[in-house]
Assembly symmetry: C2
Homo-oligomer: 159 residues x 2
């Protein structure tokens, strides 16, 4: 992938907080909204979700997930050409008593200070989405397959 597209992928991931989460519900696709916080090296995407929500029940049954992030729409621009990234991976729950949970809560609150309310609710859990397959559409006809290793290099400022 060229340097410009790598830069575009990095800024897409770092600039957006709303993602579309794909899970399996009785073997069929189920897409719902999540807020996500990428780790600094882009090796994982943190989400904080309610146990009452369908997507949480789905992931506890089958951890295979997909996460898509789309750039903001701009007036007068062709939405078909919007940059977006489709990630496939697995969801891992972060145990609530772990040191990792504390780090997750800090990272999440740094991004979403208003989430303090949800953190206080007992039924919310942190999951990390670990990508194995990444497809980046930089614009019309410009699609790239990206490996998790390449994504880490991009996080560190490489191409």
């Amino acid at each position: 992938m060229d340097a410009q597209s790598s830069q575009a992928l990095r800024s897409l991931i770092l600039s957006r907080s709303v993602g579309a989460l794909g899970t399996l519900r009785d073997g069929a696709p189920y897409v719902s909204m999540v807020l996500c916080v990428p780790s600094r090296d882009l090796s994982g995407f943190l989400i904080h979700i309610s146990r009452l929500a369908h997507h949480t029940q789905n992931m506890l049954t089958d951890p295979r997930v997909s996460l898509m992030i789309v750039a903001s729409e701009q007036e007068h621009e062709d939405p078909q050409a919007l940059p977006r990234v489709s990630i496939q991976g697995v969801a891992e729950e972060i145990p609530s008593a772990s040191r990792e949970f504390k780090q997750a809560a800090e990272a999440y609150l740094a991004r979403f200070p208003q989430a303090t309310t949800y953190l206080a609710l007992g039924d919310f859990s942190f999951f990390r989405i670990v990508p194995h397959t990444i497809r980046f559409v930089a614009g019309f006809g410009r699609a790239f397959s990206v490996t998790p290793r390449q994504l880490k290099d991009i996080a560190l400022g490489g191409t």
Copy 2:
């Protein structure tokens, strides 16, 4: 569902053109971006996609899909409370020589005039997503299950 939420669902669907499509790729979820045009009675959502794209190959293998539409983000508002609708349904290809295809092309171009370019490309097809299960999140803690029949009523201005 109360009248205000019905109205919110209708305006969400009618105001947004970008959707998140969930398909199955080797049995795992795969989320990608599509532009969609709802039919007037909200009984189906038209998408126009390339045969070269992963999601098209996925749907031709297994027609079970999900489509999610999220409201635009607003500055200073909690994104966790964004209205969104998650649809589960099946994707049906519209045969290219049919009368329905002509109607689909007209409806699609009325919404996306710039799509003329893609319509001229031979590898694009129209699919209709027919919902069977609909989940509308109107805001934090306000989630509703909606039947296709209720969605039609909402389309016609009812609740």
